[in-house]
């Protein structure tokens, strides 16, 4: 179990007790986010699907790496690591 800092994007802070960062423990990315979800279920709902995968328009970074390029939610975390929740931004002209 490692203690990790999770950075919360501004629009989701209302679902995280107003915090910009939350500390949580877990062995991998999914476990850390689930641990946060125990206290902030509405936050978790907006980040993760029922199957435990990130929602389509959400990216999760471990340090400077997108976890989709690592082992996804199974990516192991280390003591003091920083997880960032970010929007996946896309769109275009009509």
């Amino acid at each position: 179990m490692s203690r990790v800092i999770v950075r919360i994007p501004t629009p989701l802070r209302g679902f995280a007790g107003g915090n910009s960062e939350i500390a949580a423990e877990g062995a991998d990315v999914g476990a850390v986010l689930s641990a946060i979800g125990a206290d902030h279920p509405e936050l978790l709902e907006r980040v993760m699907k029922d199957d435990g995968q990130p929602r389509e328009f959400v990216n999760i970074y471990l340090g400077s790496d997108n976890v989709r390029t690592l082992d996804g939610m199974d990516t192991p975390v280390g003591e003091g690591d920083v997880l960032s929740i970010l929007p996946a931004v896309a769109g275009g002209a009509p």
């Binding site: 994007p9 501004t10 970074y61 997108n66 996946a88 931004v89 896309a90 769109g91 275009g92």
Partner: protein, 150 residues
Amino acid sequence: MPDPIQPPRVSPMNRISLPDPLREELATIAVDGYPYETCGVLVGASADDEVRVEKVFQARNLNTERARDRYVLDPDDLMSADLAAREAGLEIVGFWHTHPDHPARPSETDREAAWDGYSYVILSVSGARVEDLRSWRLNGEGFVEERVEA
């Protein structure tokens, strides 16, 4: 399917401050990138219903197959902008992108990916100039226009 664009509503409660130098910076990128879509990140501060943009970042468009009418903002560029924002004591307040030869109004494609709580600035660009710049904020299922101030 809900109309992504609500009837135009500009509330004095929704304002975004985009200083002229930043607006010019966006215009330059938009014109240089024409006829392709360009995109990026707005960094600044927000309080209540007012957003103040202090920096703009350009990001890569990962949608190279349909770069004339679609964009996928490179998440690595967003991560870099987020780090820069936090180091400066600022935050990501929204995103910008261009609509080459189309109005500065959000599309259904824009709505699908949008989050509540961010400003979405759209520049309509045609050839050598920016025709229009507007800012939008998702409000439930549809977008509401924000008042853009210098």
